[in-house]
Symmetry: C2
């Protein structure tokens, strides 16, 4: 039996995601599809525009059989740790045979070669990388420079400036590191870029969908999202009175920076090389997170890395969170794929969690699972609908069955 | 030379305060008047409706010569510690000869006798007090019961249910404990109660003034506040787009309760006997602080005690704050009373601070002074005018000279 694994954010689920899902099933001839999905926070270092249960429903109604949550510290981390966490879950549930991911290129072989170089870092590569870092380049830029030198190629710049290529390489790296038996496949993104506002053949980027939502352009939204996903999206939007955004946390960031001790601040995930002083200074000069980010930007840090840093500060993700025990928390499954859930439960090498409440009652499981309750509480604190701000929803919200 | 000390909140300064001030000068025949005033947080456990510098200006323009800040842990504490802090400052600056305070009664002698009983607590008094506490009474109620038994009187109930009498007794207790040479005087409050919404001879309570402000009844406000005070009040209101209120901190309280550890929470000033669990539970059930307070109320805790608890949680006032070194921070003075400021500086037994910035640069002074910077930052975070929310105002705001 072929079981496909995919790694997704669905923020929110649109026609491009549907294309990727159907193409992946077609390529692999999979019987079932398991999705590992970011929870309430996504890889750009932002709150997901709508909550994870709605996004899980979207996925299930559009053809994913089981949705497993990627814990927040991984979901909101750099491409490297995002990929490591997601691949580790797919590998650990011990039933996935194939994995498909999108990329700007269709050259899996070349991406795989790059992954090899990065996994088995040679001395000369390390030297070039370190050199480029010392010259003040951001990590992604420095890595590019070192790879260009290694492969003696110029076109690297383009290849590694594409966010999905970067993620694809990280997936391949993680598979190699874990010596996973899962077979990787590449699906070339045909139509639009990650951030593009073009709409081609009813496909656009999730960024564009969020922008269209803010503009209230629902007629266009209808044409670029599957009907089931659109209906769930609109329903959630009206319940919550809008989308969640990073700036919704501006108040909390300011308050946190007044009340956190220096030693706690330095311990926040991603807080390196004195950047905490820059954060404190810029937060004193500006109120909104977007303005703080503009002020903070340096050659050394990408905008997204800084965004993650700020998110981690607000919700309190420490440096040690990525070391915690991993688990497979099921957000939802299609009732007709009950068999798959059973297979996962029987085979998984990590705990499979279908109810956070029951699991924590029965297990002394000190991990991100307990913190996820707080992270969700904070996510709900910025709901524009006051009646949705109540605490402990992580414990009371049941698993989705569709 | 006679120097009068008064202890005030001026939240905001109104005709009743002017009456008290002028009557106090008249009774004592004082040459100068020093006011110890609550800073940005007041004894009811709330943010002051407008900031301390504006309130200091009001006081100076209406006839107080020097305004010294009562540090927040004392200003936002129970009557006992509020009084202790304020009297200690007046006593320590070492030039005050007389003190006047308002009370509902005019019987200084009797209040003084009560203070004696409370300072030199007899065994039988302690026993009765403990008994009443064990029966589940709040501390003020239990103290009443024990005092009634001691004096074999019934009318205590009324006497000690009046907040200004209670404060007066605490001032007297503090003077006795410190064996202060300052002579106390009583001024009977003639017109209106603490919370009353009556207006008699152009005098009303500060509570009523805040309510009238919220209703926008400026024509009435004009008649019950001295002109200089009214003008400053209106100016500050328009800058800040309104009054600060406890509910403005609802967001921060919710966020804080999600992110604070249990051991930190238990260490908050006033957090006793497991009340932290009640706070957590009630905050889960309601969003606004006023609603949480209604839910939290028990026979054991007064509404105001709970309000202080919540304020202390939001701004982070620990149990040890009251033990810190005391100082006399001058918020402002009348230029014509420069001589008085010189006298204070020369005679004071505690540090006299005219610039927080300069003082902290020159002194290794670990005390509430450093925390006051954060408490003011948080106070400013709820300004309705975003451009006034910037940090570090404690360090940049100069002393008022009028």
């Amino acid at each position: 039996m072929k079981i496909l694994g995919i790694i997704v954010e669905y923020n929110p689920f649109h026609n491009g995601h549907l294309y990727h899902l159907e193409k992946s099933k077609e390529i692999t001839g999979a019987d079932f599809c398991v999705g590992v999905m970011s929870g309430n926070y996504v890889q750009r270092g932002e709150p997901a525009c709508i909550d994870k249960f709605t996004r899980a429903k979207m996925a299930l109604s559009c053809g994913v059989d089981v949705i497993i949550e990627l814990p927040t510290p991984f979901a909101s981390s750099s491409a490297e740790f995002f990929a490591q966490g997601a691949i580790k879950i797919l590998d650990s549930i011990n039933i996935v045979t194939d994995i498909c991911f999108g990329a700007e290129t269709n050259n899996l072989d070349f991406l795989s070669k790059i992954a090899d170089v990065l996994v088995n870092e040679s001395q000369s590569f390390s030297y070039n990388l370190q050199n480029a870092l010392c010259e003040g380049n951001s990590y992604p830029r420095a890595r590019n420079i070192a790879l260009e030198k290694h492969f003696k190629l110029d076109k690297f710049k383009d290849l590694l400036n594409s966010s999905n290529n970067i993620l694809a390489i990280e997936y391949l790296k993680a598979l190699k590191k874990m010596q996973s038996s899962i077979t990787p496949h590449l699906i070339q993104r045909l139509h639009v870029d990650y951030n593009s506002d073009n709409i081609i053949e009813n496909i656009t980027s999730a960024t564009n969908i969020r922008n269209l939502t803010k503009l209230g352009d629902f007629e266009v939204l209808k044409t670029i999202m599957p009907k089931a996903s659109y209906d769930l999206f609109i329903d959630e939007l009206s319940k919550n009175n809008g989308l969640r955004e990073l700036n919704d946390f501006s108040d909390f960031l300011q308050y946190k920076l007044k009340t956190i001790s220096k030693s706690e601040l330095v311990n926040i995930s991603g807080m390196n090389e004195g950047i905490e002083n820059r954060l404190l200074r810029c937060a004193n000069e500006s109120y909104y997170i977007t303005d703080i980010l503009t002020k903070m930007k340096t050659k050394r840090y990408t905008h997204t890395a800084l965004q993650r840093l700020i998110l981690h500060t607000v919700i309190g993700i420490g440096k040690d969170c990525l070391d915690n025990k991993l688990y497979a928390r099921i957000l939802g499954f299609r009732s007709e794929s009950k068999h798959l859930l059973k297979l996962i439960t029987e085979n998984s090498k990590i705990p499979v969690i279908t109810s956070v409440n029951d699991f924590l009652k029965q297990n002394d499981f000190s991990s991100n699972l307990q913190d996820e309750i707080v992270w969700t509480d904070i996510y709900n604190l910025v709901s524009r609908n006051l009646s949705l701000r109540y605490s402990g929803q992580e414990l009371t919200h049941g698993m989705i069955v569709m």
